[in-house]
Structures are given as structure tokens and as C-alpha cells.
């Protein structure tokens, strides 16, 4: 396949940045999108040009590092996959592909397609954990009965890899699917219920502080999420937040 790529180039966080056109040749349809980017970068290096900076790590769809807004969608046109799992067979020979970084005020661009997603880390630090008493009297988790339904929903919420596709896809750059998933995975389980009030209040306060937009229930986040995190998690977070404010 021969392709034309329109890629956002920005030398550093302060630089203005612009879209630059590249031709890339001899791309196999079996390549992943990141492998195609590797080929482009080899071509650029061979020509003595600066390669395109982009985030990647496991390339197995579980680390949440790869990002990219491809042809107007987070992680590209395929469903339920991260960019590393997006294959070039989703495109046609001769296509023009537009590649941009995830855009949000809370995700500033560091370089080219690399954005700073540490705002997600700060939201997690605000309450996305349980404080385990390790005094030696810790009860075996398996000794606490949990319904299949609650366990399944908590596990579904916990599959969020924090990639930020929800923020990138949302017209409001809202992080509520991410925060909803993180709140839900603990709220549904007995170990998490102990700190439920503080958790949801602190995580939502940090989310607001980071400058994310407000959810308007368009559902774009759910569609584009590579892990299929459900909007139900946002509804649950809203219920948890109301309940926490009444009780707390």
C-alpha cells in the first residue's frame, strides 16, 4: 500500500505546530498502525529528517500508552482496539490518513503526537485505590462473598487502561468515563466501599481541577473506548457522588 499521511508536527510543548504531509510506501496490510509509523520514521531517519514522536509500549493493547487521533477518531476507525492493534487492512491503497495527538486542555502536547496524560495519574492519586491494613490481621479476600453480577461489573470497569480515548473522543473533552470506571471498580466491591465517600468526592474534585469538560451523554466515549467501558459507569459515579454529598 502507498499512503499519504497528514501528521501533526510540533517540536516541543511551546511550539506552534502544524500539519505536515508525508508519502509512505510499501506498507503491508498486515502491519499494525504503529508498525506503519515505524516504517515512516525509518524513511525519515534515512533522509536525515526528525522522526515523528508517538507514544507506545506493550503493543498488545493493554498498557494504554499508544494514542493518536486517526481520521477523526481516537485509535482510528476500528472498534474495541488501541492504535497498536489497528491494522493497515482497515485502510485502502492510496488513502490519505490524518493523524493528530489526543486534544484536550488537560492533555497538553509534549511533542508531535505525544501528550501529557499525567492528569489521569493525579485523579488516580486523589482516591483511585483502597487503603489496605497490612497489620497481619488482613482478611482473605476470598472469604467475603461477592455476587457474580457485582464482580463482573467491577471487573468490566477495571479493564479501563487509562488511554484517554474517552477524553479525546468527547466533544467536551470530558474525563467522566475514565473517572466513572475507576470509581465503579471499587464502589461495587466490599473492600472499596469503606472509602467510597472520600474517593468519589476527591476524584471528581481533582477531575474538575484538571480542566476536563462536562459530560453531555453523547456516548462517543463508550463507542471509541478500546475496552468497551460502559456509560453505566458514569451513571454509577453520579449516584455515588450524590450519595456521598448527602452522607458526607
Amino acid at each position: 500500500m502507498n499512503l499519504t499521511l497528514k501528521i501533526w508536527r510540533q517540536s516541543n510543548a511551546q511550539a506552534k505546530g502544524k500539519m505536515v504531509d508525508y508519502k509512505v510506501t510499501e506498507i503491508s496490510e498486515h502491519m499494525s498502525f504503529l508498525e506503519m509509523m515505524d516504517v515512516l520514521n525509518e524513511q525519515l531517519i534515512n533522509k536525515g529528517e526528525e522522526p515523528v514522536a508517538f507514544d507506545h509500549d506493550c503493543r498488545e493493547g493493554i498498557c494504554g500508552m499508544c494514542s493518536m487521533f486517526i481520521n477523526g477518531e481516537a485509535h482510528g476507525p476500528d472498534r474495541g482496539v488501541t492504535t497498536c492493534q489497528l491494522h493497515m487492512r482497515m485502510f485502502k491503497d492510496g488513502d490519505t490518513i490524518t493523524i493528530e495527538p489526543f486534544r484536550a486542555k488537560a492533555f497538553p502536547v509534549i511533542k508531535d503526537l505525544v501528550v501529557d496524560r499525567s492528569s489521569f495519574d493525579r485523579i488516580q492519586h486523589a482516591g483511585g485505590y483502597i487503603s489496605v491494613n497490612t497489620s497481619g490481621n488482613t482478611q482473605d479476600a476470598n472469604a467475603i462473598p461477592i455476587s457474580k453480577h457485582a464482580a463482573d461489573e467491577a471487573m468490566d470497569a477495571a479493564t479501563c487502561i487509562g488511554c484517554g480515548a474517552c477524553v479525546a473522543s468527547c466533544k467536551n473533552a470530558s474525563a467522566m468515563l475514565f473517572v466513572g470506571a475507576k470509581v465503579s471498580q471499587y464502589a461495587l466491591l466490599p473492600q472499596g466501599k469503606v472509602e467510597a465517600i472520600d474517593r468519589v468526592q476527591n476524584m471528581v474534585a481533582q477531575m474538575d481541577l484538571e480542566g476536563f469538560g462536562n459530560c453531555t451523554n453523547t456516548g462517543a466515549c463508550e463507542v471509541e473506548c478500546p475496552k468497551g467501558i460502559s456509560l453505566e459507569n458514569i451513571a454509577r459515579m453520579n449516584r455515588e457522588f450524590l450519595s456521598a454529598n448527602i452522607k458526607g
Partner: protein, 226 residues
């Protein structure tokens, strides 16, 4: 609870609550207006009751005005914040791939409804307030005539085809607004997505039947009294 309504989620709840109230108001407004098609007398009786009963005038009316103003003002505040959350726009954004047109353009359907409300207030609400509370005529009767004035006023307003056209356009946008707004309000209020399909079904039903009914009423009076 002090910081609740300053938080993003608190504002979602507030928007949803005002939306519930407005949707309930719209339903009763529709029910009373439909009376004008079947029975002018029943419409006159209902209008006179709503226009003179103290609880409606001094409790529900102020709540309605607050609800309308709050829904619009908070809608604009949230829209401004949401736009500020993405300073640099995408060169290519395929919103149609993951969301409905209605959900992405609530601000525009809302602005059209706001423009309609200005016209609607000039048409009906301001003359009504003038007659009752400035001129002090609480009788509801036609001046120097017999019977109630409400039906005649309604029918007279829809003689003008331009006004009927403006009302029809506004109700189409109201329908588009409700297509997303109905289920969105429930989702914001924390309704479980277990009921998502039912909510979306009822939402679409409400979003079609109510505005279509209002369009029917406007056209009915236009063609029957012109």
C-alpha cells in the same frame, strides 16, 4: 452539600432536574392546548383555571420561570466550559462515527428554542401579564363581549402564516433537542443503563409526539380560522 452544585456532576444533576420540570410542564401545556382542538369551552375553562389559580400563578409560574432561566444560563455556562476544555480543535473530527447529530448540537437546538420562547412570550405571556396584573382584569372575559377570551386569542395568533412557520420550525428543533435531552437527563440523574433502551424508546416517543402535536395544533387553528 455546599460545593455540590459547583461541581461538574452537581451541575449535571441541576440541569437534569430543570429538564425534568420543563418536560413535565411541556406535557401539561400540550394537554391543555390539545383541548382547543376538541372543545373551545374546555380550553377556555382550563386556561382560566391555570391563569387565575393562586398556586399556579404564584408558586408554579415563578418556579417555571426560574427553571427556564436556569436551564438556559447553566446550558451556556457548561457549553463555555466544555469549549474551553479543548482549546485546539482537531483538523479532522468524525463525530458522526460515534454520536448522534442531536447530542452534539444541543446548544444550537437550545438557542433556536430560546429564540422561539422570546416570540412566544411576546405573543402570549406578556399580553397575559399585562391584562391580568397591570390592567387588573382577572375576569378572563372578552372586552365588551360574552364568554372567555382565551380561545379567540389563540386562534387569532395562528392566522399569520409567518408565525405558524416560525412555530413549526421551533417545534422541529424542540424535537431534536428532546431526542437527546430526554434520555440524557435520566442518564445525568444516575439512571441505570439497564433501562437505557426503554428510556431511549420513551424519549424518542416523547420527542416526536409532543412537538408534532404542537405543530398539529398550530396548523389546525391556522387552517380552521383563516
Amino acid at each position: 452539600m455546599s460545593g455540590f452544585f459547583k461541581s461538574s456532576i452537581g451541575r449535571k444533576y441541576a440541569m437534569a432536574l430543570s429538564a425534568f420540570f420543563l418536560m413535565f410542564f411541556l406535557l401539561q401545556h400540550f394537554a391543555i392546548n390539545m383541548l382547543s382542538v376538541f372543545s373551545p369551552d374546555a380550553f377556555n375553562e382550563a386556561s382560566h383555571f391555570m391563569g387565575t389559580f393562586w398556586a399556579v400563578q404564584y408558586v408554579l409560574q415563578p418556579v417555571l420561570i426560574f427553571g427556564v432561566v436556569y436551564h438556559f444560563v447553566m446550558g451556556f455556562i457548561l457549553e463555555a466550559r466544555n469549549r474551553g476544555a479543548r482549546v485546539k480543535k482537531y483538523a479532522k473530527n468524525n463525530g458522526a462515527a460515534n454520536s448522534s447529530w442531536m447530542s452534539r448540537n444541543m446548544i444550537y437546538s437550545g438557542l433556536t428554542i430560546l429564540a422561539f420562547l422570546v416570540l412566544h412570550f411576546i405573543d402570549f405571556w406578556i399580553p397575559e401579564i399585562n391584562t391580568k396584573y397591570i390592567q387588573g382584569d382577572m375576569t378572563g372575559l372578552v372586552p365588551n363581549g360574552e364568554g372567555f377570551r382565551y380561545f379567540e386569542e389563540l386562534a387569532h395568533k395562528f392566522e399569520n402564516p409567518l408565525r405558524v412557520g416560525a412555530y413549526v420550525i421551533a417545534f422541529v428543533f424542540l424535537s431534536l433537542h428532546l431526542m437527546h435531552g430526554f434520555s440524557s437527563a435520566f442518564q445525568s440523574a444516575g439512571a441505570s443503563s439497564m433501562r437505557k433502551e426503554k428510556l431511549q424508546f420513551f424519549g424518542k416517543l416523547y420527542a416526536i409526539i409532543i412537538p408534532l402535536g404542537f405543530i398539529f395544533i398550530a396548523l389546525f387553528h391556522h387552517f380552521n380560522h383563516h
